[in-house]
Amino acid sequence: MHNAGESSFVDFVSSTAPLGPGALGTITAETTGAAVQPSGTWARVAFSAGRVGLVDLSTERGTAWSAVLVSLRQRNAPAYIELDPVSTQITRLLIPLVVTVGGINPSAQGVEVELTISHAIHTLRTSHPRFRELLDRLKAAQASGAQIAVIEDPSSHEIIEVSALTGPAGASAPAADGTGGEPRGDMVALAAIPLTRAQQLFDLMNSKVCCPSGPSAPCIPFGYPDDGCWGRAHEMYRLMGREGVACDKVWIYGSLRAATTNNPRCEVRWGWHVAPTLLVATGGRQETYVIDPSLFPGPVTQATWASVQGDPSARLVPTVGAIFYRSSSGATQTDPSFTQTNSVLATYRDNLRLRSVGSDGPPPYPACLPSKTGVQFYGTLGAGVTHSWFTFGWPASWHVMWTVVPLTTCPGAPQLKVRIRVERADANNATYWIVVTNTTNATVRFEGRYDILSR
């Protein structure tokens, strides 16, 4: 496999195994002889080309990385690894995109690269120290149609590395179940449903949202809007079908830019996007509504959906719901067994998990949130941590209540507990101390709220 330097590589995981502290010395002696912090519990990760890396399971990040590495092994998907050359500890883990190159277009910063299948816009900057080399690899892949591994910054989607994909696992993405024209058997005129039913279906889809720190099947990674929309849309198509509702889909093509609270940059850029649609009866007429929890808190009209994606000249194409992927030129694939769908969802669940333990923490990102009345502060609490915030200068004559509500979505169990303490700072002012406990094993963001009951 490709080796960009002594400490970074793309390879397939062949095994992961937890190590006790006693075993650690053996591993370090075999590899480098370097000392690794003896505390903590470690996992030994072996790669198909013979390299070995260590992951510290005593940290939230290490636990998440270990889970992602196991997932990659189970899915026979490659990993991009950076190793500390001395300790062999894994210092960076990214999930390469296994793709073909659809197009390479000049941009102000370098080139924008269309990858298939991916709806994110990927950039190779001229400032990259190996810009020419990577561009040549992309052009060669475009010419040959070969699948390659593209590694990018997970927030900006700037390309870091381009690697040939010739691992022992074969490493080609599984073929879609069907390709070619529109599936004729699904061309059924849909009956309009009431808006209340559309809202119910939206709520059902939204309830499948992944917990960022522990996303597991069959959750849908709505919290990772950067990429994978075609997988999310097809899973919603499947779920609505189970409810007896045959949805359609709408595809949008253009230079898309959508605001989001779930990317540290507060926006995502796409070359295209897709979501399921429903025909809704509203006041004597029928209108197409879009179900897209990655962008909206409820069903919205197609016009509203398109309007937030930043390209007034974007092209909208409706299709039947059974279309799994549609290229901008109109080529389609289906996925009747949902094999591809499950693979896409697994990939972006893993990306969500990696993002959540990255330097920016889990989504949503407070800097992206609109200011709200009644919110005094935003907080972030690590797994199992209790922390106290204080806020002073509140008139003691006011009756003030304090609450906290998580921003990090994680259905299934309570996440936060809060205790309020109060200090009479002087004759006129009170200081409130808000003591918040994270009762989960993952980082939780929250907002600290107040209500003035009387003044």
Binding site: T409, R449, D451
Partner: protein, 84 residues
């Protein structure tokens, strides 16, 4: 502001129980408290704490843990107030 009773419960002597209530709009500011309906003067009967879960982008689930501090069964109302 509006107030209401979400549920009524009874807790055995010195027991602790937890209830959850889901589907509350996440943008609403809500507080939870309890009021005994079993009369017993001379000391506190119940204490409670509240934990909260973000179930999805729109909704929260509240988990209310109530402790009976007395040696008798205590019935109570689980109350809420929507502050905004």
């Amino acid at each position: 502001m509006r107030t209401g009773i979400q549920w009524r419960g009874t807790i055995a002597p010195n027991a602790t129980m937890r209830w959850f209530t889901y589907g509350w709009p996440a943008n609403q500011h809500i507080i939870w408290y309890v009021m005994p309906t079993t009369v017993r003067s001379g000391g506190p009967e119940l204490e409670w704490d509240v934990a909260v879960e973000r179930a999805n982008s729109n909704q929260t689930t509240y988990w209310i843990t109530v402790r009976n501090l007395t040696p008798i069964s205590v019935s109570f109302e689980g109350r809420y107030a929507v502050l905004s």
